[in-house]
Amino acid sequence: MSSELPHTLEQYRRAVRAHELSAEEYLDETWQRIEHGDHQVRAFLHLRLDAARPDAQAAVPLSPLAGAPIAIKDNIMMAGERCTCGSRILEHYVAPYSATVVQALLGAGAVVPGKTNLDEFAMGSSTENSAFFPTHNPADLTRVPGGSSGGSAAAVAAGFALGAIGSDTGGSVRQPAAFCGVVGFKPTYGLVSRYGLVAFGSSLDCIGPITRTIRDAAIMMNIMAAHDPKDATSVKRPHVDFEAALQPTLAGKRVGIIRELKGLDVQPEIAAAMEAAREAAVRSGASIVDVSLPHILSALPVYYIIAPAECSANLGRFDGVRYGLHVDGRDMIETYSKTRNAGFGTEVKRRILIGAFVLSAGYYDAYYKKASSVRQLITDEVDTALQSADVLLTPTTPTTAFRLGAVTDPLEMYKADVFTIPADLAGVPAVSFPAGKDATGLPIGLQLMGPRWSDAELLSSANVLFTALGGES
């Protein structure tokens, strides 16, 4: 084995194909890093070395992933493996089938070292809402990795996997990617199958890749983007080669800056990174345009009505009757109540209650229906803005990673999603990429949003900025 181990999917694949490295050797190396580091990072909820080894041995070097270790967020089904969703209520639940995306990744030669930690049912922005333990940011172990896909982002950042998949409902792929200094991509809603992803906010949920580089995200998207007849919201689209679509220039592109977000309180180093990205864009041939999204600041409250409403229905099935935690009560209602009270954490309960409230008779019109109308308004505004600009540039987060335990007010925590939520509401693709570090050395992430189905072009544009700002091509 060469001393210089590949740290991107692309390098790894090249090395394996050149027979400089075998999947099994790389798995061993990865395993050592996990053994050495994960007791501190705690990216994984469950590891599966015994099962991963034969997969690595059987890996076909010419397969798209060639036996690369890919971590899976623990709210995505992998047959025979536990799928806890970071919740007590599913602590011992074993997936009876694999998500379509997991099947595709395994079919493409992925080797899964384990399932990664998350905020319970993907509800949170720090992975502190995991019922089992928090994950730590590999860049600074006193800091959160972001959330809810904090385990996946931390695993990639710590070198425990070459790529990971997470789910993004309000920023849950992009925000932890930004905090951990990796790439996180939320595709267009409908591009990647949701079958086998435990639903949180069904109209928002997207599975997306977390990787070291944009090129690696493109490699994973080539496997993940496919129409799935098992998901009625999955859309049939012409085939796109994401990797081949990566271009070295932004010539002729218009990069939009959203007027309404300029006044938001953002950490100074992040504002500086935005400025640097602007300049890099211009240097790469792009023009900067000012765009307006008058209702974008309503995105946060709209999201915190729609996502809880959907989750209140989606999480109803965890009632202790057929699977999962069961706590006996005197009668059926008390059994439900005791089971759910013991099985769900505070944040999940809060969102179920908010969701049941906004859907209830007498409040539906004022909350859910109103929020749905405003969501449509925001979607229309995003679509319009993306006619006068090819991509929209924003920070991914207002701050870099905060300390574990530092944010206790749920509203403060929700605000961490202010830049990421609009893309979820509008169903458009958005990618977070590393763009330098703050004064304490914590990673900064910037976000590009693009029009629906422009996923490949969006990754291409992001790749230009990412590499111009020091990222690896």
């Binding site: 998500a99 109803g316 099935r317």
Partner: protein
């Protein structure tokens, strides 16, 4: 007292697979053998719409004269119950697939159209089997084979006023669903279920308190429950006892209803659009072609039989109970142009034989050509009407032609005058006393002489011709 009744009917659509997954819809198999992650509501599973269910729903809605909407929407109806594994039912709420439409009924009070409010498609829940049914020490078991079966729910306007009308409505609706092949309409297997909303008021201008009745497992139960509830509410009104707005349970053994739960404390179902399914958009061109292929509905066929073919309402109803029977009748009448006689023959002889065999028309060998041929032979005096009753079983069981059957049974009627004259001469020689009596004016003995002639011909002589020949020969 004025009684106002509206019905909510669930009809199971006769698809091969469930509404949102590929599991079989077979009835009566081992519990929990037709299940998958989707219909079990396992985490991560997603519904995909069964196009066949939509097709059947549209067919029924069109036949009911509903307006079929090009765009409709699925919603989630949220409630907790062990037989509802997702904790919500996928149904249609704000935007159903069809609205309006009518079903005609005829009762002693005359013919009326019962208006429909709407028809929407939804999935069935699983089946809870409680301790009372299974002696399992207080346990409740759930069978999810039924969970996810496709249903269409039809809601009527409060247009009915008696148990008889509700009964007729259901009979006619069942005739239609079976006619169209959209459902077996079998209430015993739960393929058709009905809830009743009923109110009684002393003032015809005012509506009384609405009571819902559930657990109605047959059309007869629907009628009995309405009759009971009508009397109960009338008695309450007379006694000034307040009638509660509530759901009541029909007890089939007692023939009574008892309070289940009060409507005030009913669930808030928190309906909202189902995010896992896109809007249901129907192709206008496909709708048009479906409309063009729509068969005549049974009540139209029935009135056409009465109007154009002169059938009695009884015969017309009987012949339009099943589409295959009506089609058989029409094919036969095209070959044998005596609709009344055919209808009566089918209503008596054919029906009797089918009942004996326990078969439907389609399950026998009888063809329109054969039946028309048989009746034509009777008409042409080739065989007697009585003899035809011996021929029919052969046509039903073996499928031989009537001519072959008659030959096999040796039943050809003798209508050859010279042959009959031969028999007549023999009879007259053997019965001189009766010949004398006739000639002296006692005409009644002709019947005896005809009988003797028939006996001699082994029943094959045309009796009418036999009478005529004898009369001519007996003339002095």
């Amino acid at each position: 007292m004025t009684t106002t009744i509206g019905l909510e009917i669930h009809v199971q659509l006769a698809t091969r697979t469930k509404m949102f997954c590929g599991c079989s819809t077979a009835f009566g198999d081992e519990p929990n053998t037709h299940v998958c992650p989707v219909c079990l509501g396992l985490p991560g599973a997603l519904p995909t719409l069964n196009a066949e269910a939509v097709h059947l729903a549209i067919t029924l809605a069109m036949a009911l004269g509903c307006e079929v909407h090009e765009v409709s929407e699925f919603s989630r109806k949220n409630y907790f119950y062990p037989d509802l594994p997702k904790s919500y039912q996928i149904t249609q709420f704000d935007c159903p697939i069809a609205t309006g439409g009518t079903v005609p009924i005829v009762t002693v009070r005359g013919a009326r159209n019962i208006r429909l409010t709407r028809a929407h498609i939804e999935e069935d829940a699983g089946k809870s089997i409680h301790a009372a049914d299974i002696t399992l020490g207080g346990e409740t078991l759930v069978d999810f084979n039924r969970c996810g079966l496709p249903l269409i729910e039809i809601v009527t306007e409060p247009d009915m006023q008696s148990g008889d009308e509700a009964y007729e409505f259901l009979r006619n609706l069942r005739r239609l669903v079976r006619w169209l092949g959209v459902s077996s309409g079998d209430m015993e297997k739960g393929a058709m279920r009905c809830d009743v909303n009923i109110s009684v008021s002393p003032d015809p201008a005012l509506r009384g308190t609405k009571v819902e009745i559930k657990n109605l497992n047959s059309f007869r139960s629907v009628k009995r429950a309405i009759d009971y509830e009508e009397q109960r509410q009338a008695q309450y009104l007379t006694d000034c006892t307040p009638i509660m707005m509530e759901t009541r349970h029909f007890d089939e053994v007692q023939g009574t209803t008892t309070a289940m739960r009060s409507k005030e404390a009913s669930n808030d179902y928190r309906y909202f659009p189902e995010p896992d399914l896109p809007l249901l958009q129907l192709d206008p061109a496909e709708l048009e072609s479906l409309r063009a292929q729509m068969p005549e509905v049974p009540w139209e066929t029935q009135s056409r039989f009465e109007r154009d073919l002169g059938l009695s309402p009884y015969d017309a109803a009987l012949l339009t109970e099943e589409r295959s029977t009506a089609e058989f009748f029409q094919q036969t009448v095209a070959l044998y142009d005596n609709p009344k006689k055919l209808a009566s023959y089918m209503g008596t002889e054919v029906t009797r034989l089918l009942n004996e065999r326990g078969k439907t028309l389609a399950e026998t060998q009888l063809t329109p050509t054969a039946l028309a041929g048989l009746l034509a032979m009777v008409e042409n005096n080739a065989i007697s009407n009585t003899a035809s009753k011996d021929v029919l079983p052969l046509l039903v069981d073996t499928g031989v032609t009537p001519v072959e059957a008659v030959k096999n049974l040796g039943l050809e009627q003798v209508s050859d005058t010279s042959a009959i004259e031969g028999f007549a001469h023999e009879v007259m020689v053997e019965n001189p006393t009766q010949v004398e009596q006739f000639r002296s004016g006692k005409e009644a003995v002709l019947g005896f002489l005809v009988g003797q002639l028939m006996k001699k011909s082994k029943g094959k002589a045309n009796p009418k011709l036999a009478g005529e020949v004898l009369r001519t020969l007996l003339k002095p």
